[in-house]
Amino acid sequence: MAASNFANQTFDESEEEDEDFNPQPVAASDDENEGVEGDGDAGPKPSRSNSAPRVRPGNDSEDESTLKRRGISPRRRNGRPNDEADEGIDDELDGDNGDDDEGEGEDLNGGLDDDDEDEDDDEDEEAVTGRPRKRRRKGGLNQFFEEEAEVDEDDDAEDDEDDLGNDGFVADTHPDDLAALPEGTETDDRRHRELDRRREMEASMDAERQAEALRERYGRRAAAALTESVVVPKRLLLPGVDDPRIWGVKCKVGKEKEVIMSIMKRMQERQHTKQPMQILSAFERGAGPMAGYIYVEAVQNAHIENALDGIMNVYPRSKLNLVSVKEMPDLLRVTKTEELQIGAYVRVKRGLYTGDLGVVEDVESNGLSVTVRLVPRLNYGIDEDDKNPMLGVNAKGDPLAKRKRMNAVGTNVVATRPPQRLFSENEAKKRHQRYLASTGGALTGKAWNYKNETYEDGFLIKDFRIQHLITQNVNPKLDEVTKLTKGAEDGTERLDLESLAQSLKNNTAENSYQSGDHVEVYDGEQKGISGRTISVAGNIVSIRVEEGELAGQVVDVPMKGLRKRFREGDHVQVIGGSRYRDEVGMILRIKDDRVTVLTDMSMQEITVFSKDLREAGDATGDGRLGNYDIHDLIQMDPATVGCVVKVDRESMRVLDQNGSIRQMLPSQVTNKIEQRKDAIATDRNGSEIRYGDIVREAGGESKSGVIIHIHRAFVFVHNRTQPENAGVFVARCVNVTTVAAKGGRATAADAKTNMAMHSKNGDGAHAPMAPPKSVGRDRMIGKTVTVRKGPYKGVLGIVKNTTETTARIEMHSKAKVITVNKDELIVKDPITGQTIDMSRFGGPRASGSSRPNYSSGSTTTSRIPNDWSAGSRTPMGAGDGGRTPAWGASARTAAWAPHSSSSGGVDGGRTPAWKPQSGSQTAYGGAGNMTSYGGTTTGFGGSGGGGGGRTPAWSSSARTPHAGGEHGFSTSDGFDSFASGGRTPAQGATSGSRTPAWGGGGGGGSSTFSAPTPGKPYDAPTPGGARLHEDFPTPYGSTAPTPAASASTPRFAQDAPTPRGWEAGGGNAPTPTAGAARGANTEPLLNSRFEAAPTPGVGGGMTPAPYGSGGGVGGYGGGGMELMRRRLQLGWARGRGISIVMRSDDSDSGSAGVGSFVPCWAGLGGLGWACAVA
C-alpha cells in the first residue's frame, strides 16, 4: 500500500535540525549519508505503512518538521509491537497541526522568543502529542537527554521557520552537509551522543537487529505512549489546507495494487539517489467505486508526474483530481478487505470458465491470487481439427490466436464450451496422450497434468488472480455445489458445510433482516445489546433495544455485527442461501450462530446459520416446489406413482410405489394425482380401508400409520414418528390390516341426514347390499332373456355364457352373440314370455337382476355399499354398514328409535335390504338372507315363532317360507337380532342383547336397531351358509327355503334363536366389540385406548351402547359413579388415542359437575387421563 523509505535506523535530533535545513532531496540524501541513522522521515513510515499509506520523502519544510517530530515519536515508540493504524495517523496529523501552529507563529514573529513561546504553546496546546514524547525521553534517557530534547524542539521551530523561508532553495544543500552539520552547530553533548550512536549503528549494520535493539530499549514505554496518544481529539488531527494535497491519478482498472507496488519499488530504488521521489505517499482504494484511481500525496502535482512517469498502467499526465481537504480523511478510512479463505466459493469472471463455481483451495500469501478448484470443461480434442491438432493446445501458436479472436468477437467460448465434467484420464488418453502426464504423488496417484493444467481427483486446479474472481454474493446453487463436492472415500457424498459457510458469510443479503426479527449485536460498539429490528436501510439496522440499560431506545447498528437471536424451541423457517431453504422446524439447540433445527416435515436435524433463519408463523410455510407439495401423489411414469417425501429447492424426493426413493425434478413429473378421499380398498382381511384410516403392515416391520393415499393396489401411509422418508411408507393394500377406521366414518355421511327420512325416502344414497357370492355355474346360463336397455334394448336371446357382470347372449333374431351387462337383462320364461324375477335366483345373478327391482321398490337404502363383495362381510364392510360403531352412532338418532319401536314392519323397512314393501324382491332379502338368515330363522323357528320373525329378511320378504316370520317382526327384539344377524351370522351373535346396548335395545324395542355390531362379527362369514345357498338355490323358490336353512343350521338349531346361543355355537361368538361395548360401559378404565378392542369398534363400543337406548337416558340410573361410568368414554376414538374422559350430559347435569380432573396413569397399557366427577 504505502511506498516509503523503510529505513529502520535510529535517528538523531541533530540530524533533524540538519534536515530541516536541507529540504527536498536532502532528506533522502540524509538517509544515504547516515546509512544507519536514517532520516526523520523514515521513522514514521513503518508505523504508517500498516495503515495510512503515504509516501513522504520529506521535501517540505513544514511537513518535515512535523515529520521529524513524528519521526521522533514513532521512532521512540518503535518498540510497540503493533502500531495501530489509527494511532499512526493521529500522530501524524497531530504533529502536523502542532507544527503548523508553530510555523505560523514563527512566520509572524520570526524570532527566537517566539520560538520559545511557540514551544510553550506547543507544550500547552499539544500537551498530548508533544508531551508524551518528551516524557518518554525523560524516562528513557537521562536528564541530559531531556535537555537535548527541548533544545531539539527549539530547533524544530527554527527549522520550521527556516524551512518556510527556504523552501525554494534548500534543494541545493548537499546531503554531505548533514554529516558535517552536527559538529558545527551542536553542543558537545550532542556530538558525543551522536558519535556513540553512530558507532553503535555501524557496529550492527543489520537493520533488523537494530530494530530489535531499539525495541528492547524503548519497548517498555509502549503502553504509556498508547494511553496518552489515544486522548488526542480527532479534529486536531485532521488535515488542513496547509498540508500536502492528495491527488487522484487515473490508472488502469484492476491494476491499482500493481501500480502502488511499482511505485514503492521505484521509491526504494530512488531513495538513495540524488533524485528521490518527491511524493509523500501513494495508495489505492481497491476495487469498488474508487477503482481506476490511485491516490498520491504530494506537495505539488509536478512531483506526481515525476514520480509516476514511466510506471505502467497509470496515467499521471491525464487530469489529476485534487481531493478536497474535507474528503481526505475519508480516503484513508480503513475498510477491511475481505480475505478469501480456503474453502470459500467463488465464481470465475472471465475465460472458459466464466460463471462457473469454484472452491478456493489455497490463497497466496500476497493476497493477489488464489488457487481454485473447478469442474473442468474439456473436450479432450474431440472437436479438434485433425489437420491442425494443435488447436487450442499451444498457447502461443496460431490456433490460439484464432480462438482469441473468437473470444474478442463475442461470447463464443461460453456458448460453445464443453459441459462441466470431471476430468477423465481415459478420455484424455484417447487423443491427447502426449499432453497427459501423471503428476500425482505416490500417495494419491490421481493428479494429472494435461495441457499444462493440473487436475486432481477429476477437478481442475487452477490459479486465478483475485480480480478475476467474484468473491462476494456468490450464491452457490445446490447442484453446482454437489458437482464440486469431493466424494468421500467410501463413495458417499459429503457436503462441506464449512465451505458453504465461508461463502455464505460473504453474502450480505439485505433482506436477511426483516422488521420484527429478534436480533443481538455480537460485534462492534454496541456489542451485547439485543432487541427487535424496526427497520433496515442498506446495511444499517435499527433496533429497539429490549434489554439492559438501553431498553426502549432505538439504536442503529451495522448489519455485519448483528445476528438473529432465537430461543430453543422456537419455530423457525430457513430462509436465505442455505440449502435447507424453506425447511421449517423447531430449534433444538443453539451454538454461536449455528442453530440445529428439527424439521417438521422429515423430523431430521439440520444445522444452519442463525442469519438464515427467521421465526416461522404457526402456519407452516408451504414446503412447495412448483405445484408439488410434500405428501402429494404424483405420476412418475405411466406405470408408477410416487409420494413426495421431501421438497428441496430445486428437486424433490419421491417414494415410489415399489418403495424406492427417487430424486426428481418437477419437470420430470408427469402430473399430480389429486387426492381421492373417497378411494376405497380392502385390506388383508377384506376390510374396507380408505383415506385417513389407520393401518398396520401385516408383515415386515409392522409399521403403522394413517393412509394418505390409496392408489390401485398400493397405500401410502404416513407415520409422523418414523423419521425416514418424512414418515411415509408404501405398502400393498393386501399387506395391511386396519387398526382403526377414521373416526366417525359412517357418521360423516349419515349424521348429516336423518336416517329415518332416509330409509323412507329411499333416496338411493346407499347402494344396496350385494348378495353373497356364489361359485359354480351361473344359473343365468341357458336362460331366455331380453335386454332391458342400451343399444340392444328389447333383444331376445339366450344366455350362452356369463362372467361376473356380463352375459353373452345369442340373439334369437340373428345369429349373433352379444355381450351385455347382466344388469340389463330381464329373464323371461322361454315359453310364456313372462318375466321371471331374477332375485329368486339369488347368487350373483340375483344381485344383478334384482337391482332394478330395488330401485323400483324405492327402498334401496341399504347402508351397505355396493361393493360388498365376498369381502363385504369383513369388519370393514360392516364398518360401513350401519353396524360399525359409527353406524351405531347414527343409530342413536332418535329417529330410529321411535321408528323401530313403533312398528317392526317399519323398522324392517329401513334397512334397505329388508324392505318390507319390496319384500323379497330385493336381492338382499334373497341373497343375504339365504345364508345366515336361513340359519337363524330356522333356529328361531325352533325356538319360537317370535324368533323366526326376527330375521328381517324373512319378514320383509313375504315370499320366503318364513313369511311367517312377519309376525316375528312385531317383536322388536327379533328385529334387532335380525338386523344384525341378517348380515352375517355372526351378527346374530353380536346382536345378542347381552351387550348392555342390546339389553337396552331389547327393552326399548327400538333400540335394537341401534345395536350395531361393530365389525368383528363380520369376520365370521358363514361359509357354510353360502355354500348352502349354492346347494339349495331354491330358497327363493320359496318352496324349499327351509331345508337350506335348516341344513345350514345344525349349529343354529342348537344355538337356538338366541343370539347368545349362536355366539356360543359359532365360536365367533362374542364379538369383540360387544365386549368392548360392555366394557366401555362398565369398566371403562379397562379399555384404555391401548387395549382398544381390535375392531374399530372401540368407538362402537362406546357409542352405541349409551346412545342406543334412544331417549332412555334414565335407564342408566343415577349420578355418582354410575353416572361416571356411563359417561366415561374412550375418547379420541378416532385413533388418536387417548384418554378416558367423561362428561356430564346436560340431561343429567343436575347431578354432575366437574370435581377434579386428574391426569393419571391409567394403569393399563398406557397413559390416559381419567377424570372423576365429584
Partner: protein, 172 residues
C-alpha cells in the same frame, strides 16, 4: 394445563333432521365433533355441558339451519416450559417420542441428560447411560419439559427436553 372454558360453536343442521329431538342431535354432533378435537391451540378434552343452543337460522341457499351452541368444556393447552409426565412411544436414533395424552413430544438425544446414548441392539432399542441405571425405552414413563410447541391447523407438536436431573425416567 387444564382449563375450564366457555366456548361457542356454530353448527349447521340438515333440514332432514329438523324434528323434535333436534337439540339432542345437535349435542351429539357437538360431542362428536369437539371432544378430542384440537384447534391448534388446545385440546378439547371433554364437554361438560351445553349451556345454550341458539335458535336456528336457516341459511339462504342451502336450507341448512345454523345454530350457535355455547358449551362448557375442559380443555388442555400445553405450554412452553410446562413439565409433563408422559410415556415413551417410540425410540429412534434421533431421540424419543413421548405421548402425554393427545400430545406427542419429541425429545432429541441432545436434549437428554448427558451420557444417554442410543443403544440399538437391545430389544426394544433404548437410550441408556453408562451406568445403566437410566433406561428410556418404549413404554418408559418419563418426565419432560416442553421446549417448544408448534401448532398446526388441527394438531400440536412439541419438542421437549430431559436434560436436567429431575427429568427423565420416573421411578415405578
Amino acid at each position: 394445563m387444564f382449563f375450564l372454558r366457555y366456548l361457542t360453536r356454530e353448527m349447521t343442521m340438515n333440514p332432514a333432521l329438523f324434528a323434535r329431538d333436534m337439540t339432542q342431535i345437535l349435542k351429539e354432533q357437538l360431542y362428536q365433533q369437539m371432544e378430542g378435537d384440537c384447534n391448534g391451540e388446545f385440546y378439547t378434552i371433554c364437554i361438560l355441558d351445553v349451556t345454550d343452543i341458539s335458535k336456528g337460522r336457516v341459511l339462504p341457499g342451502t336450507a341448512e339451519a345454523m345454530f350457535t351452541l355455547s358449551y362448557r368444556a375442559i380443555v388442555w393447552k400445553p405450554f412452553r416450559g410446562e413439565t409433563l409426565d408422559c410415556m415413551v412411544t417410540k425410540v429412534n436414533r434421533a431421540g424419543v417420542f413421548c405421548e402425554a395424552g393427545p400430545l406427542t413430544i419429541f425429545v432429541a438425544q441432545t436434549n437428554m441428560k448427558a451420557g444417554m446414548t442410543y443403544n440399538p441392539d437391545t430389544t426394544p432399542p433404548q437410550f441408556s447411560n453408562a451406568r445403566g441405571d437410566e433406561i428410556i425405552e418404549k413404554g418408559t414413563a418419563v418426565r419432560t419439559q416442553i421446549m417448544g410447541l408448534r401448532s398446526d391447523v388441527n394438531a400440536i407438536m412439541a419438542i421437549g427436553r430431559m436434560s436436567d436431573s429431575w427429568f427423565g425416567p420416573l421411578p415405578d
